[in-house]
Structure formats: structure tokens, C-alpha cells
């Protein structure tokens, strides 16, 4: 472990010992951390994983002693480099946060002061270390260079809102490194970022780690990120660490049923909806403050028996440094994947919805901003078309234009069953309105918070199915049952429901009529993996029963692979590549797809060599000449790509690519020298 040169003997950079922490709510302490123990060696990267509410972030904040006023440490210690953080005076704590440890937060936008220039904020970090104004300014410039910002002068002069999320997170990291900390706590540092930007930030953290030898505590719900970044990992559940070991050991030989459940909920190893349903974890996390059973996971565990209910599980060593708190660690293999369900997923032969030459141009302060450029797409009955691309590539605009929320430009047309439909949803015939429905990304925003679930569903049933009275009541109950919502949930308002249940209501609403095509705009991105799995299973089953088509927008390559029959890759409002899921994942690919796929951190440890996407997505208001991707393309042919816009060519039957290169040329692997990265 301690292979770093300047370690102070065997004193860990961070040691958390049996930490018990509670939040006082209305005078009653509610336990959140219930005996968390782990340590991070100097120079080591340690990951914490678990579903939301398991105490990951609370642990991270406790390590820095950033705690809300109602937090009470009820027991245990937090030792940073041998010093007890919980016992420090205010001054010692300030000193500690200034020079020994620092933190990078989830949302860089909230971590920065919007009213001050970047330069002022970065320089301030050096000013408090005692540097003069001029020295601090110079240090700020170097700090930005250290986080690989090419043009520090320009960035120092900007305000936070003028920078992209990825760039801002680099600045925050630069600020965190100002005092050369021995410990860097990263709380979901890449959660809000695109996969391509995430990959760049992670590369940066990895480089900085080998440069500074700082110990890293990384909190992430994305298991792929943990796998690629960390040496060891702790799996948290209900305020306790239930399994710990090296990432290879834990991810390849999970020994706690919870770890097993988490890993299996994620669509991986190329599993498809036609292969099997996804694993789910039944039940919910115990509420904070409730008394925990002897084994914290007993209520959701498929292996639970009497001993689990009566005895606290001991620490069972699996291999060197890999342990689990489970009575049945050796029976873990008995947890079987869901049985193969005979899902046929019949895809019809007729194209039910067809977009021809659909463009959408927004007018912004007198400028034309082409958000969609001549999109041709067809949907077959019961087919899922996955839509991927970075933020700003036009995925949502395409969805909203299809639905009639945005009016497409003149010249394009949308057909339903061979009949032209009106551009605006409000002008459409009842049948067309019923045919197009949507499941939104954020169920909080998509459900009227003053309406009960019953009213939401009832209104949708009357409008979309055209039935009233007792018949409508019955339909509402049937719908709720199909979505596995109980009668009790029907009388609740959205805020009383969990994220997964809210998304079920939203799906029920979309299916109230008899939709032909449902647009799913990242419906699971806000959900924990086990809940995501349940929602994906529900969507797959509904499709199988109702033969509905989906336009499925997502950032998650695993999810899109699981659910989609075909995949379209968008960039700057254009479809760059379109093919069946197998074709997309087998290649050859459009260079943009190639870069996108390589950016995904893999849970299985079999990452493809990464193809960096340099720079940011250009503004659609001012697209590059020739091929719009040529400015970031690793296969660019100058003199051709920057002048001529490529035609869409067929790479194989039903597999098209908007690129000058042929299938043979695209099959030649590209190699990168480290200089280009």
C-alpha cells in the first residue's frame, strides 16, 4: 500500500474509527453513520459506494468536519494524518483545511461565487496562505496550468457562469490543491458532467495524484468511476461499511449480497433486454434514525435466515485485505440472476412514425441557431431507438420537435401511420396527441405537485383514453396496478413518493391512453441503480405487452445498450451514425461514436483505449465549416473534412455514418502518443 516515497511511516492519511453520527431533527437524534470504520493510506485512492441515503457524503463531510449545525458525533474518531479532526479547535481546524485536506464538491457551479472573477477566487486561496497579491496572482496562473487549462489568462478573467461545467470543475480542483493537501476528498466530482468531460476530469485527477501523492477519498455512485480511479473500495449500506477490498476483488468477486445486488442491477457485459430482466434489490433502505437489525441488510437479502436476524455478522476475510460482514459469504454464488423471461420483443415491419428532413432553427437575438439539421428517422412498431450524444447535441430538441412542443422549420414533415401530423401539439388531432407521449427526466418537475396521483392519472385517462366515470376509475386502478403502485400511493401527492415511485406515476401517465411512441428523456438518470433497474424492467415489459415504440435519450451507454434495438448518435443537431445496437457496439464506428464509447468508465475493468475529445462542443449558432465534427476529430483529413460536409454513407446494411471515411478506413485503429492527450 504505502509505496509512496514521502509517507510518514504507517500513519494513514485518513482513519475513520467506528464513527457514529446523528442528525438532530426536532430534538431527536437520528443516526446516520452507525459505526463507520475505514482508513486511507497516504497516496492511496479509496472509493466509497452505495445508494443515496447510505451515508457516503456524510462520511466525506465528516472527514473534513464540515457538518451542519444539527449533526452530533455520538462516538468514534476521525484521524487525519494522526490528528483527531473531531477534537480540533477552530484555529487548528482552519489550519487543517488550509494545508492538510481539501474537498471538491459535486456541483462546481455552487462551489464558486458567481459574482467574482475566477482569478480573484483562485488567488484568494493563495492569499490566505500568506502570499502577497502579486505572488497569489502568479500562483493562480500556475494552479490553472497544473490542472491542464491551456489558456489560464483567459480563464482567470472570466466569471463562473462563462465557463463550462468541466472547466469549472478543473478550477475547483486547482483551488483544492492550492495548499498541497495530503488528503483530497472528492464528493461525486463528475456526476453532472458528460461522459466525455467526466473522462477528462478523471484523467486529470489521476495525473495529479501521481504528481502530488495526495491520498484520495472518492465518493461516487457510478461504480465504473470507482473501478477506474481507486485502489480500494468500501461498500456502504445504512451507515455502515459492509464490504471492503481492492477494486478488482470487490467488483470481480463481490462477497456481500448488497454489493452483488448493486453490481447486478447495472446493465453490463453487454446484456440486452432480450436476454433477461435486470436484477433489482427489493425493498428500501432503512429510514435514518430507525433501529437497525443485527445484519443491516437482512430485510432485502435473498440469503437471509434466522442467524442473520439474531446475530451480528462477523467480519469474514475473503482474501488479503478483502472482507465482508456477512454470515453467508460462502453462499453468495447461490444468488442467481433473474430467470430468462421469454421476451420476444417483436418489432413490426411497418414504419409507424417517420421524420423526413426535420430541421429546427431557434432565433436568438436576431441570430439563427440551427438546433436540428435535416433529420431523417423512422420508428417501427415496438422498436426502441436509443439517442446518444453530449449535452447540447440536440437530443432533447429532436424529442420535443417530434412531440410538437417545438415547431419544426418549413420543409420537414412528421408522419404517423403514413398520415402527416400537424407541427404543433395543440393543433394535432386527438389520435395524434394520444399517439405521442413522454416520460421526463425529472419526475419532480413533470408531476403537478398540488395534484394527487389519482387526479394526475384520472385526468390523463379521460384525456388520452377518452373514457369517463366509473370506467375511468377502473382504468386508473388498472394502470396503478400495472405500475405496481398501491391504492395508498394514489391518494398521495408527488412529494410524498420516492424517486422511483414518482417515475412510475410519470410512466403510468404516458401509458394512460394507447401511445404509439413514448419519448423517454433520461428517465433513470436521477435514480439509484437498483431503482433504475426496476424502471428499465418496467419499460421493457410495457413495450413487450403494448408494442409501443420508444425514443430513448440517455447518457448511459450501458442502459442504451440494454434497451435499444437501434442507436442514433447525434452531434450538433445532426445524426452522425445510426445502426442496430450490435452494429454500433461491434463497429466500425463514426469517429465521434468511437470517442464517446471510449470515454465510458467500465465497471468490468476492460476499458477501451481512450480517444480524447479535445475542447468543447462548438456552439450551434456558429458551426464549424465542412464536417461539423472536424475540429475535434482524431481521424480528421485536413483539406477535406474542414471544407466538405460529408454525405451519409452506408457502412453496412442499415448502418449509416456521416463521415468521409469508409468502413475499411474506420476499422484501422488509431494510436495516440501521450503528447496528444
Amino acid at each position: 500500500m504505502s509505496d509512496s516515497p514521502q509517507t510518514s511511516g504507517t500513519v494513514p492519511a485518513l482513519a475513520i474509527e467506528d464513527l457514529q453520527l446523528a442528525y438532530t431533527v426536532r430534538g431527536v437524534p437520528r443516526g446516520v453513520l452507525r459505526g463507520v470504520t475505514f482508513h486511507v493510506e497516504p497516496g492511496e485512492a479509496y472509493g466509497l459506494v452505495g445508494e443515496s441515503g447510505c451515508g457516503k457524503s456524510t462520511t466525506a463531510y465528516a472527514a473534513m468536519r464540515y457538518m451542519p449545525s444539527n449533526a452530533v458525533i455520538q462516538g468514534g474518531r476521525v484521524l487525519a494524518d494522526g490528528q483527531d479532526v473531531t477534537a480540533m479547535s477552530t484555529q487548528e481546524l482552519q489550519e487543517f483545511r488550509m494545508t492538510k485536506a481539501s474537498m471538491v464538491y459535486q456541483d462546481p457551479v455552487q462551489a464558486m461565487n458567481p459574482a467574482l472573477r475566477i482569478g480573484v477566487q483562485v488567488a484568494e486561496c493563495f492569499r490566505i496562505l500568506g502570499q502577497s497579491k502579486i505572488e497569489a496572482k502568479d500562483s493562480a496562473r500556475q494552479a490553472l496550468r497544473r490542472v491542464k487549462i491551456a489558456d489560464p489568462e483567459r480563464v482567470l478573467d472570466r466569471y463562473p457562469h462563462e465557463l463550462s461545467g468541466g472547466m469549472l470543475q478543473r478550477v475547483v480542483i486547482a483551488m483544492a490543491l492550492a495548499g498541497d493537501p495530503k488528503l483530497l476528498v472528492l464528493d461525486e466530482p463528475t456526476t453532472g458532467l458528460d461522459a466525455t468531460v467526466e473522462a477528462e476530469v478523471l484523467d486529470l485527477v489521476r495525473d495529479l495524484r501521481s504528481e502530488t501523492h495526495a491520498a484520495i477519498l472518492l465518493i461516487a455512485h457510478n461504480l465504473g468511476v470507482i473501478r477506474t480511479m481507486c485502489d480500494r473500495v468500501g461498500v456502504m449500506y445504512a451507515g455502515r461499511v459492509v464490504e471492503e477490498g481492492t477494486v478488482q476483488e470487490v467488483f470481480d468477486n463481490p462477497s456481500h449480497p448488497y454489493t452483488m445486488g448493486l453490481l447486478n442491477s447495472i446493465p453490463r457485459h453487454g446484456v440486452r433486454k432480450t436476454d433477461r430482466s435486470l436484477f433489482t434489490i427489493p425493498g428500501n433502505l432503512p429510514l435514518i434514525g430507525t433501529d437497525l437489525p443485527t445484519c443491516v441488510y437482512v430485510d432485502r437479502c435473498p440469503l437471509a435466515d434466522d442467524i442473520c436476524r439474531n446475530e451480528v455478522p462477523p467480519i469474514v476475510d475473503r482474501s488479503d485485505g478483502h472482507w465482508t460482514r456477512c454470515h453467508h459469504a460462502d453462499k453468495i454464488d447461490q444468488i442467481k440472476p433473474p430467470e430468462h423471461e421469454n421476451n420476444d420483443f417483436d418489432i413490426g415491419t411497418d414504419t409507424i412514425v417517420k421524420l423526413a428532413a426535420v430541421s429546427k432553427t431557434f432565433r436568438q437575438r436576431g441570430n439563427d441557431v440551427p438546433a436540428l439539421v435535416s433529420i431523417d428517422l423512422g420508428f417501427k412498431e415496438g422498436e426502441t431507438l436509443g439517442l446518444v450524444g453530449e449535452s447540447g447535441s440536440g437530443k432533447s430538441t429532436l424529442a420535443k420537435t417530434l412531440l410538437g412542443i417545438h415547431e419544426p422549420d418549413q420543409g420537414g414533415s412528421i408522419h404517423l401511420d403514413g398520415r402527416l401530423v400537424k407541427d404543433k401539439a395543440t393543433d394535432r388531432r386527438v389520435e395524434s396527441i394520444r399517439a405521442f407521449q413522454m416520460v421526463f427526466q425529472n419526475a419532480d418537475s413533470a408531476l403537478n405537485r398540488m395534484w394527487t396521483v389519482r387526479r394526475i392519472l384520472h385526468r390523463s385517462v379521460t384525456k388520452l383514453a377518452g373514457i369517463h366515470g366509473a370506467e375511468a376509475d377502473k382504468k386508473v386502478n388498472d394502470l396503478a396496478e400495472a405500475m405496481r403502485l398501491s391504492q395508498r400511493h394514489l391518494e398521495m401527492k408527488p412529494r410524498q413518493l420516492s424517486g422511483g415511485l414518482k417515475q412510475r406515476v410519470a410512466i403510468a401517465r404516458a401509458f394512460a391512453g394507447d401511445p404509439r411512441i413514448v419519448v423517454c428523456d433520461e428517465p433513470t438518470s436521477a435514480l439509484d441503480v437498483s431503482v433504475q433497474a426496476a424502471i428499465l424492467n418496467l419499460l421493457a415489459n410495457l413495450q413487450n405487452d403494448e408494442r409501443t415504440s420508444y425514443l430513448f435519450i440517455t447518457h448511459d451507454i450501458g442502459v442504451v445498450r440494454y434497451l435499444s434495438d437501434r442507436i442514433a448518435v447525434m452531434y450538433l443537431g445532426r445524426i452522425m451514425e445510426l445502426g442496430t445496437t450490435d452494429q454500433i457496439f461491434a463497429g466500425p464506428n463514426h469517429p465521434y461514436t468511437e470517442a464517446l464509447l471510449s470515454a465510458v468508465p467500465s465497471i468490468d475493468g476492460d476499458a477501451r483505449p481512450r480517444i480524447p475529445l479535445t475542447g468543447e462542443i462548438p456552439s450551434p449558432a456558429n458551426p464549424p465549416s465542412g464536417c461539423v465534427f472536424h475540429t475535434r476529430c482524431h481521424r480528421v483529413i485536413m483539406g477535406l473534412c474542414d471544407i466538405t460536409d460529408p454525405d451519409t454513407i452506408e457502412l453496412a446494411d442499415g448502418h449509416t455514418s456521416k463521415c468521409h471515411l469508409t468502413a475499411e478506413q474506420l476499422s484501422v485503429p488509431v494510436t495516440f502518443t501521450s503528447a496528444t492527450v
Binding site: 396527441i433 405537485r449 395508498r488 391518494e491
Partner: protein
């Protein structure tokens, strides 16, 4: 196949659990009320306001003398029989202050309610429809707000005549643009939310989306606006009647009492001005205290 919900298994008695859900909502409303009621500003404000409401309802029983026709010594200072003294016409100030509550409490809340209704409708259209309608209406609202309230009120009352109906109409009209602006900004933010888009995708009409979907979600700021407006209405009505544009004489309105008697202050007869003025102040403060309590509870939930 999915997250098994414990509630699913227990939810077999449909009707009883439905009642439980409705009960939960009633509890939430009760909780809001409880929070408002617990605030000291609400208790004090409500006590003062209730005293004036009692005066307004039972003024003729409570007043020791006839507020209009009793004639005693002119400008007699407060005594046991006339605790607030008598005014320059020899009328009992206490009786007139008690009777004056009726006019104010009749006019101000009605004017405020009408103003809020007008403002909600206008603001809802501005915030939801946007576009040219919002641009035009916003400019009109702004030009209205730039004019002095009292001047507009005086102008309207002198042209239209002096009656309670006119005063109510004037105050309501003056409040409409102010309320509209508040409602507009709330609606602007609200109509960005996806449930509005979802309603469009179901083919809902524009009025349905505005008044059934969005309106309940902006009811918080509207309730706050209403309580604040009642306070302003009391003050505006008193100001108008002080300037002679209030309810017509011989009503014992507080504002006209102040204006009738204020020039006798220099002669040392302060009571005939002081007590009606205090009545106005106490009611305005009381309503503002209530508004404050409502606002802090509504905004924190």
C-alpha cells in the same frame, strides 16, 4: 420484477387506505395552520384585528354614545365619561372610532380581494402567454406603478363621485398591476416546469393549464400578497378619506375624522386626531403582523 413495496402488500383495504391518504393531506394543511398560529406576530396581529372586527360588527352596541348625533361639550379632553374626549363638533371620539371600524373593514378587504383577483388573472395571462401580450401589459403595468397612488385615487373619486363602491373600485384597480407583477413572475417560473409541457401533450386547453394546473402551485405567493394588500388597502382607504375622497360624510370614517380635526391640534386638542390615527395605525400594523406570519410560514414550506 421490481422494487417490492411493503405498502403494496398492506394496501389491500382500498377504501380505508384512500381515507388515510386524504387524512395525510388534511394533516399537512393543519400543520401549516398550526405553524402560522404559533407565531407571536400572528397572535398579536390577530388579537388587534379581532378587536376591530368586533367593533365593526357590534359597534352600535359597544359605542357609549351615538357616533353621529350625540352632541356634548366641544373639544372636551378625555374624561371618564368620554375616555377619548370629544371633537370640535362635541361628538364622542371613542364612539366615532368604534363606529369607524365598520367602513374600513367593509371597504379594505373587499378592495384587496378584488385587486388580487384582477391581478391574478392579468398576471396569469402575462406569465403564461408571454410574447407581445406580456410586453404590452408589462409596459402598462409599469406606467401605472410610476404614478402616485393618491393622485390617481383622487382623480378617480372626483370624476366618478364619492361612494363606497367607487372607493372599492379605485383601490382594487390600483392594486391590480402590483399583484399582477408578483403573480407574473411566479407563473413564469412555474410554466418552465415539465408538468405544463405534459399537460400540452395531453391536449389540455390554455385556460385549463393556467387555472387548474398552474394556479394551485402559485397559491402561496397569492395568499401572502392578499394579506399584505389588505394592510395597504386599510392605509389607502384612510388616506383617500383624509383627503376627502373617502366614504361620503357624515360617516365616522377614521381618515375623515383625522382630516376634520387635525387643525385643532395646534390649539391643544390632540385627542380628536390622535385616537382615530392610532386606530388606523393599529389596524395596519395588525394586518401586517398577520401577513408577516403567513409569509414566513408559506415561504419556508
Amino acid at each position: 420484477m421490481s422494487e417490492i413495496d411493503p405498502a403494496l402488500n398492506s394496501g389491500n383495504a382500498a377504501s380505508s387506505s384512500a381515507a388515510a391518504g386524504a387524512n395525510e393531506r388534511k394533516l399537512a394543511r393543519k400543520e401549516t395552520w398550526r405553524l402560522i398560529r404559533r407565531r407571536p406576530s400572528f397572535i398579536i396581529g390577530m388579537t388587534i384585528a379581532l378587536i376591530w372586527v368586533v367593533c365593526a360588527l357590534f359597534g352600535n352596541l359597544l359605542a357609549p354614545f351615538d357616533p353621529l348625533n350625540f352632541r356634548g361639550d366641544l373639544n372636551s379632553s378625555p374624561t371618564w365619561s368620554h375616555p377619548f374626549g370629544t371633537d370640535k363638533g362635541g361628538r364622542d371620539v371613542l364612539s366615532r372610532v368604534i363606529a369607524g371600524a365598520r367602513d374600513v373593514l367593509k371597504i379594505a378587504p373587499i378592495a384587496a380581494i378584488l385587486g388580487v383577483i384582477g391581478g391574478v388573472i392579468l398576471g396569469m395571462f402575462m406569465g403564461y402567454l408571454r410574447g407581445w401580450f406580456d410586453s404590452v401589459a408589462s409596459r402598462i403595468v409599469e406606467s401605472f406603478l410610476s404614478l402616485p397612488v393618491v393622485l390617481l385615487g383622487l382623480l378617480a373619486v372626483t370624476t366618478l363621485g364619492n361612494s363606497n363602491v367607487v372607493v372599492i373600485g379605485v383601490v382594487a384597480t390600483l392594486f391590480t398591476p402590483v399583484v399582477a407583477r408578483t403573480v407574473r413572475s411566479a407563473v413564469l417560473a412555474e410554466s418552465e416546469l415539465d408538468y405544463v409541457e405534459s399537460a400540452k401533450l395531453r391536449g389540455e386547453s390554455t385556460p385549463f393549464i393556467m387555472f387548474r394546473e398552474i394556479l394551485p402551485n402559485v397559491s402561496g405567493p397569492i395568499v401572502v400578497e392578499l394579506t399584505v394588500r389588505i394592510g395597504y388597502a386599510v392605509f389607502t382607504v384612510a388616506t383617500l378619506s383624509f383627503l376627502g375622497a373617502g366614504p361620503p360624510p357624515p360617516s365616522p370614517d377614521w381618515g375623515s375624522q383625522v382630516s376634520d380635526n387635525y387643525n385643532s391640534i395646534v390649539s391643544g386638542y390632540w385627542w380628536s386626531t390622535f385616537f382615530p390615527a392610532m386606530a388606523i395605525a393599529s389596524l395596519v400594523i395588525a394586518v401586517n403582523l398577520i401577513a408577516d406570519a403567513v409569509q414566513s410560514v408559506v415561504e419556508s414550506s
